[in-house]
């Protein structure tokens, strides 16, 4: 495995053969693959569903102006949902690493406790971070709750950190030196984006406007939900969440505001999840 794009290709191929729906990245800004509607909604309710997709994930506060070899404002996750998970779900996951050409019998692999939680989505689960020779390459979670709703059946969520896996496989010290394709590096594709968004997120973003946007998105989310447009309501909930992250990276949120804003996003997510379950026939 020599390139970033091959890693993506092989993993999607593996999960496609396993029987997953292969979905596309969501086109609204999200902080993690979990926020994609293909996870947030599909894990609710009784219907079995298995899906895999790549999700570029934006975390404004993690930006480092393209100067840090490991930290990115926008990193790439590959997310798999198995609902319900098969009894050999861990073994299937390990199989997926083998298709990347990782000789597991020659590596040090561990599942170490790490319970995932998202206060803004009202979601949490039990699970591990998977460490390969000391490097965290995957978050593995048995979802227990989403949008404040107890899940039945539960889903297993497997989230691969693609940059890390690719850097591991190709023994690169900086993510920017990764080969994206045989001819092009990760740095050539993404460096400018990392730099400009870091500047925007930390220095340039218009705080007053962002606050306004938050209010507008929240109102529109509530209005859509009122009209039983549950999925559109969720889009605006995601926009609220991203706007909150932008405000946060701009240092615009005071202590008291912070708790309040998180609760407002959470209460949108909870209302949406509840309505989705009620109307899902």
């Amino acid at each position: 495995m020599q390139t970033f794009q091959e890693v993506i290709h092989e993993l999607l191929g593996f999960w496609m053969k396993y029987g997953c729906v292969i979905q596309q990245p969501y086109d609204v800004e999200v902080g993690a693959g979990t926020m994609h509607p293909e996870t947030f909604f599909r894990v609710l309710g009784p219907k079995p569903y298995s899906v895999a997709y790549v999700q570029p994930s934006r975390r404004p506060a993690d930006g480092r102006y393209a100067e840090n070899p490991n930290r990115l404002y926008r990193h790439t996750q590959l997310q798999v949902i198995l609902k319900p998970p098969p009894a050999d779900v861990q073994e299937v996951y390990l199989e997926s690493l083998k298709v990347l050409g990782i000789p597991l019998e020659k590596n040090d692999l561990r599942f170490e406790e790490d319970n995932w939680e998202s206060p803004t989505l009202g979601a949490w689960g039990i699970g591990w971070q998977v460490l390969l020779d000391g490097l965290e390459i995957t978050q593995f979670t048995y979802f227990q709750q989403a949008g404040g709703v107890d899940l039945d059946p539960i889903s297993a969520e497997i989230t691969y950190g693609l940059e890390r896996i690719a850097a591991f496989l190709t023994e690169r010290n900086s993510v920017y030196d990764l080969r994206w394709s045989p001819q092009v590096t990760y740095g050539q594709v993404r460096r400018r984006e990392e730099y400009e968004f870091s500047r925007y997120n930390f220095e340039v973003g218009d705080k007053a406007m962002l606050f306004q946007l938050f209010e507008l998105y929240e109102a529109e989310s509530l209005r859509s939900l009122e009209a039983d447009c549950v999925l559109p309501a969720y889009d605006y909930c995601l926009k609220c969440s991203h706007t909150f992250n932008l405000l946060d990276s701009r240092g615009a949120i005071s202590v008291t505001e912070r708790v309040g804003l998180i609760n407002r996003v959470r209460s949108l997510a909870v209302g949406i999840a509840r309505r989705y379950v009620e109307t899902d026939e």
Partner: protein
Amino acid sequence: MSNKFLFELGTEEIPASMIDPALDQMRAAFEELLKRDEIEHDPIVMFSTPRRLAVIIDQLPERRPDREETVMGPPASVAFDESGSATAAARGFARKLGVEVGALEVMETDRGRYLALKRRLEGAPVREILAQALRDIIASISWPKTMYWTETRFRFIRPLRWFVCLWNDEVIPFRLEGVEAGRTSRGHRLIGPPQIEISDASSYVECLREACVLVDRQERFQRIAGGLEEESGGQMLVPDEGLLETVVHLNEYPTVLRGQFDPRFLEIPREVLVTVMRYHQKYFSLTEEDGRLAPSFLTVLNTSGDPDGRIRRGHEKVLHARLEDAAFFWNSDRKVALRDRLSDLDHVLFQESLGTYRDKTRRVKAVCGLLEDSTELRDAAELCKVDLTTDMVRELTELQGVMGGLYAREEGYPEGVWKAIYEHYRPVSLDDALPESRNGALLGIVPSGSSDPFALRRQAQGLVSILLARDFEFSFDSLIDFASRNYEDLVTGEVRSQVLSFLEQRLFFLLQRSGLPQDVLRSVFAVGIGSAPDVRSRAEAVASPSRDSTTLTTITTATAAAPMRM
């Protein structure tokens, strides 16, 4: 006739810290069951890896001992008529038990004479007794956090995946949550066979060792301890019992590996390097003979070895990236002076109703002013929480306080300031060292819940330990008083008395731990307490055997709220 019972519960990786408590609970549950049924057995032996909990009980009898049982019937006066023949009541009692009336006898009891049947109960097969109890034993293990994974909503730490249940070489039928017991266990995930047959209970440990799984924690412990010694290669291992306990429970087949890092990182403070290795990577640190940190580490792998060095290179690369981050923080944090960061504390929440760390800093400063009038202590109080705004502490929260101290030292603050900041969270556990400096001790006793707002017991313990060790004669009353002045109306009389009794409990606990008898402590505490050292000296006086009973009375009734000496 003796028998061996094996039960192995297969699951998915259990958090390391939870394994020992679970094993203790399982052992106790089996012991209680066998005791209840008067079944003799050899000491119960427990086994575990992250993926399994197992028990072996040897020298079990085939059946529970037979038992004599007496079933009470109607009073003799009702059971027989005047002529002495059995009445309908007696016949009915006999019929119910399936015996002839002639088998019944009359027993004298303290309530009078009664008809009764004495019979011998044959003991049930022990294997059945064990199988019937398994479900309850598994369900009774209490875990800090559980999950569900089936529609029945059965809860456990992780999903149940397999059971091995053997009576000598026979499978004992048992089923729980869709998992059927058999004799098939599982080998090491990466280097063992996926499945392994256990021929009989006696070969359990051996079979799994062949499958690259060491189920005996003691064996893993020794393998790790031996490996740490062997791989330290002339350097000294920085001892870390807690980490050792953790890695014993993180691996099915542990192997110690030595790695290096770039010596240029040694310019970062040792505290940072050790924390990165310890908390983020679970690595052991090494020192040179002269005590300086060595640019190497030891890690415990979950596999049998690393013949071509790829695992070592992987671990070294991960550590390199982390140290690169740490070096970046160490350099960039120092570009902003601690004092210039004070206003940033306005943005760091302490606790919702208690405000920000800026508010907290004001309170700490005020209390310090009441404890002692010193410029250095005041500076230390003012700056002690500032490191919460540094990138280093945001990334390595374990270093709060320590980092503030190191940055203060770099800025040239005197030892009375930087060391006080450095030490003010101590002790972080019952066994942790107390602050070495007087200012660190003073700053440390200011009631404070910063490192973890809910670790109140640890906080109180630390406070009391420092008071005792330093012979600080502040009475609890006055300390609570100093602290409450900063909270306006938040501290009601009720809160005060709760805090006081909380502190008293910790004092009681610590004095008891130091060897003072409970009854002595009770009598001393009964008259109320002033300062911690005062309580201790009175308790020691009472406990001392040379005292006669008159002195005892005087001491225990001595005025409790002794005037504060400051």
